[in-house]
């Protein structure tokens, strides 16, 4: 085949998928607002998506905060500015690393499991069965997951931020000989509300992306075990890329001078 044609076809396929995803996200939001609602499913997803992601997010930000403190100390030492460590760690975690790394980790955990679960349901005709039982799969499966992810991600990231800053603090006082009280004062003094809030808004967006990608790829899963496997991979990859892209756009919107 003509390589140019192959490239063109690939591009068209991607554009078509982007269109489908946009439509799917729009449909999800429209179902979000119209009854019937399934509160039990929603509560179940709050636990599965939110609560059970806490260890992953906590460990991620803890180690990242620690590493960040070491790096900023090393960088700061070049300008005799080691004292900036606490505030830069806090700002870096709250604005960028907390939401982005938590988002990527949750993408790996949650998008994959949603896509695998819904994909299996699709392949074994459970989605068709839902329809014949007068239950809309969008409302019963997608809405509770997307809503739960969108609402719990900011909470997760909020807790993750605190743990990340604590990681920096622990490294700061044990390894870098900071005074514990000074470290805390510096952290609190220079951190602004908007630093944290902007990160939490990002987190909500990332939660929406993760669950929507999981559901979309699950619902469009191919046939058989192979189809489900591919859907799972695509869910994680597309969720991760969309998170990074959305992060750039939101950062541009929030912080561009």
């Amino acid at each position: 085949m003509n390589p140019l044609a192959a490239l063109g076809r690939g591009t068209l396929d991607i554009l078509a998928t982007i269109g489908q995803i946009a439509l799917y996200a729009f449909e999800t939001v429209s179902h979000l607002l119209r009854p019937p609602f399934y509160p039990r499913e929603f509560l179940h997803q709050l636990v599965a998506i939110g609560w059970l992601s806490l260890p992953v997010v906590g460990l991620t930000t803890l180690f990242t905060g620690g590493a960040l403190a070491l790096q900023i100390y090393a960088g700061g030492a070049r300008f005799n500015a080691e004292t900036v460590v606490p505030s830069i760690v806090a700002i870096g975690i709250a604005r960028e690393l907390g939401p982005v790394l938590a988002g990527l980790m949750v993408a790996g955990r949650v998008a994959a499991s949603i896509a695998a679960e819904i994909g299996t349901m699709k392949v074994t005709e459970q989605i068709d069965a839902l329809t014949t039982l007068s239950t809309n799969p969008m409302k019963y499966l997608t809405v509770p997951r997307v809503l739960a992810a969108t609402l719990t991600m900011p909470l997760l990231v909020g807790i993750g931020d605190a743990i990340g800053i604590m990681g920096g603090y622990l490294v700061g006082i044990w390894r870098l000989d900071f005074n514990a009280a000074n470290y805390m004062t510096n952290t609190v003094q220079f951190l602004e509300t908007w630093d944290v809030v902007s990160g939490l808004i990002k987190a909500a967006m990332f939660g929406f992306i993760v669950a929507t990608m999981g559901c979309f790829h699950g619902m469009n899963s191919g046939r058989g075990a192979q189809g489900v496997g591919r859907a799972t991979t695509q869910a994680v990859v597309s969720a991760s890329i969309l998170i990074l892209a959305a992060n750039y756009v939101l950062t541009e919107v929030f912080f561009a001078a």
């Binding site: 074994t124 329809t131 007068s134």
Partner: protein, 248 residues
């Protein structure tokens, strides 16, 4: 009354249905027979709207099903899927009572559970099965749970996709009787797909044979043996030799 008029469906290059014309009267038991892979399951999924036909018309009581209110339409139907299609995240009784636990037919939980256990009993399953999960059941038991779910809300029209496949002969007899009973006593309309000729004779008022994407023959079950159609004869007698090719 369900009417299919010239319904066609292809999957990619593969033409499965090539103009199906089929009428199922209200309160009648129609059995669809035909070779494996001829599109029997696709046919009933088209009626339910799970698969969109490429062309043709499907009418329920004279009204086009695609133009009707989906929820009201589906509320009249029950469906047993060929593979069971049980929700594996829910215990058996919640599968059976799915419709009774939410939506317009919602009942209090204890009552829904009682109905579920009663329906399980009717398909030959003991009450202690109710709290197991589908993955803990044998294939035949899953099939019967699917059957119990299809009839749980007592719908007026029920589709059974191979209800007795994978069951022992006694259980198959129980299920045949049950389907017959649902039609005669509750006045339901039933469309059953089966390969089991003794089932056909036990359940059917009318029989339709699907071959090469069309209804090859249809008529009352009493005329099936004298249809004069070599395709039907070969099929009901299970002969390897005849007009239907063995490799499909």
């Amino acid at each position: 009354m369900i009417e299919m008029k010239n319904v066609s469906k292809a999957f990619g290059p593969k033409q499965v249905l090539r103009g199906i014309d089929l009428t199922v009267g209200t309160g009648e038991s129609m059995v669809i027979i035909g070779g494996s892979g001829t599109g029997k399951s696709v046919t009933i999924k088209c009626i339910l709207g799970i698969i969109r036909p490429d062309s043709g018309q499907i009418l329920l009581d004279g009204k086009d099903v695609t133009k009707e209110d989906r929820d009201a339409f589906l509320a009249r139907f029950g469906m047993l899927f060929q593979g069971g299609a049980l929700f594996d995240s829910l215990p058996v009784w919640q599968n059976v009572a799915f419709r009774l636990l939410r939506g317009s037919l919602k009942k209090p939980k204890p009552e829904a559970r009682e109905i579920a256990i009663e329906k399980l009993r009717r398909v030959g399953l003991a009450p202690d099965v109710a709290d197991l999960f589908p993955a803990e059941l044998s294939g035949g038991m899953q099939k019967r749970v699917g059957l119990a779910r299809a009839i749980a809300a007592e719908p007026g029209i029920i589709f059974f996709d191979e209800p007795t496949t994978g069951l022992d002969p006694i259980m198959a007899g129980v299920i045949n009787d049950l389907i017959r009973e649902i039609v005669t006593e509750m006045g339901a309309t039933a469309v059953t797909i089966t390969h089991d000729m003794s089932s056909v004779r036990a359940i059917a008022d009318h029989v339709a044979m699907l071959h090469a994407g069309k209804i090859r023959w249809t008529g009352p079950v009493s005329e099936m043996d004298n249809s004069g159609d070599p395709y039907v004869d070969q099929f009901i007698h299970g002969r390897a030799e005849g007009p239907i090719e063995a490799v499909r």
